[in-house]
Symmetry: C2
Subunit: 333 residues, 2 copies
């Protein structure tokens, strides 16, 4: 494929530019140190022979791999995607690369995956939206690699956490719906500890505010559009009939809405719907879906900022970064 010979190495550039390999290395890593004229010669040599530094070799020598391992449950239809996208972009802008690994919807990080990340000398490990087993947490706690947990704010983060309080979300939704005058919510709760936290927050606030304990219904992960159908059926069976369905995700809300439209039920007059996540579809549905907005991109960017700060040796003291959330009131509730 390549005409002749192998890829050029740093020595080739050095020879061509009439400098030492060390200087070429500095050209890439500490450009400020070079005399402008030297830099120019190197720049030209690099250009002419098409040199691309071997980052693996560099990482080995410098003990900084520039690799970040990102663990994510799934990516099909995942609420974490904006976070991942923002993170990949921001990392790439910093000259770092993202190693992606998937843990499956139950978020059991296989030890094998951890080993892969550690074996590649990842500069940092990002755990996305998972309740990780104690053994994994312990393993990571003992390891010097920086670990950032995202989307939740655990009691005691392994190192750092960037996210928001799911419990607070639940409370805010309860308050919002209470104030709007709804009285008989049906909670459609997905499995998983984060959804459970939101549920707990909702129920606590709802009952504290004088509401009677809401009817609940569990759906399996991932909480998909199709579950909406089952939820809607449940609405019909209940007596008294719920006046609002609080869904664990916008997809779910969407499913309920389609079902309701299909059955000729008016939203929100006959039945209100509340979602979670503020997916693009939430603002585009008929009716538009009231939901909770999470700035997923910001979670990704804050995470990268953390890594950058570590690189500069000034990690913040506060180990939890709360990006908050917003209730988005639209037509459906």
């Amino acid at each position: 494929m390549i005409p002749g010979g192998s890829a050029p190495r740093i020595h080739d550039v050095a020879a061509r530019a009439g400098v030492s390999a060390a200087t070429v290395s500095r050209f890439f890593n500490m450009p400020g140190l070079l005399a402008e004229e030297t830099a120019e010669r190197i720049r030209r040599a690099v250009e002419e022979i098409g040199y691309v530094p071997n980052l693996n070799a560099g990482g080995l020598a410098s003990r900084r791999s520039g690799l970040v391992a990102v663990f994510v449950p799934v990516i099909s239809n995942s609420i974490f995607n904006p976070t991942i996208e923002a993170m990949v972009d921001a990392l790439s802008a910093e000259g770092m690369s993202t190693m992606l690994a998937m843990t499956g919807p139950r978020f059991e990080v296989a030890p094998r995956l951890i080993d892969a990340a550690l074996g590649r000398q990842a500069d940092a490990i990002v755990l996305t939206g998972g309740a990780h087993g104690e053994s994994v947490r312990r393993r990571l706690r003992e390891h010097p690699t920086l670990v950032v947990e995202t989307w939740g704010l655990p009691e005691d983060p392994i190192n750092y956490a960037v996210g928001f309080s799911h419990r607070a979300v639940g409370e805010a939704v309860a308050q919002f719906l209470g104030e709007r005058g709804y009285r008989r919510p049906l909670l459609v709760v997905a499995e998983g500890s984060r959804a459970q936290s939101r549920r707990d927050g909702f129920v606590e606030r709802w009952t504290t505010d004088g509401g009677s304990p809401p009817v609940e219904m569990k759906v399996s992960i991932p909480s998909r559009f199709g579950h909406g159908r089952a939820a809607f059926r449940r609405v019909g069976e209940l007596d008294p009939r719920p006046d609002v369905v609080v869904c664990g995700s916008d997809s779910l809300a969407q499913g309920v809405i389609v079902e309701a439209l299909h059955a000729g039920i008016r939203i929100p007059d006959d039945l209100a719907i509340f979602g979670f996540g503020n997916l693009a579809v939430a603002g585009e549905m008929r009716p538009t879906i009231s939901t909770v907005d999470i700035d997923g991109g910001r979670i990704g960017r804050e995470t990268v900022r953390l890594l950058k700060q570590r690189g500069e040796g000034r990690l913040p003291d506060e180990r939890k970064i709360d990006v908050g959330f917003r209730i988005i009131a639209r037509e459906s509730a």
Copy 2:
């Protein structure tokens, strides 16, 4: 974080097991060569000191990084996600890692991203669903790294391509709808060369079969749910009124359906809808959406199989792997 000292190295294991570093290396890479008793001693030593091999150093020495760079336009709501998931899983099962990079919806692979992939000595580069610029293609063609293009079947692949003929999809859809008796299709075409190929295939087949040239309408990438609204509006304006809307994606189809339901239009009696992609939602919508199924997971797995074959030095001669597609006839058309 770690109690004392740094991570154990291969020498530490060797010393503890009373063998040389070379033998420990073989324990991991060519286990068959070791005497069972030696292997057992090493196994124990590894276990006791918690050794994890430094894959970067290993890659440097062996010139096999075990890294695969995957380029993808976006991941939020992307039709490629099942492919990526399958690929990440399969790679991880092979002990390789996935480096993810995003090129944005227009799929302009920044040279910087290519350099990052090459600089990390990626064993292979996977391009997903893009029409890559000529300069990028040339650059990759000249480089010995294995390149796999997925989701399309270019005339002359850089190295290998795994996908299907978008043109053939368009033709098959035209035939299907013709046979079902539809006469006035409205084509909602997304930007991008793949969508364009499907459109070309459709139009050619449609007119060849005696249909009059279909009405077309362009929507911007990514073709989202919200575009469905505009498409539906267009249906109302046209005279004669279309009898089927051929959508560039299932999300789009979904959008049109919601709009139609909302307006009290019956599907497929008053208006039929046809999608593309067979997203989960297509089977769950009311009505269920007729569409084209692509086995995205298979594309990912075939790609990894290719990499594995390369590792074994037996790459196939045929450079295009066609995974085909299926028309899924459901309620909406």
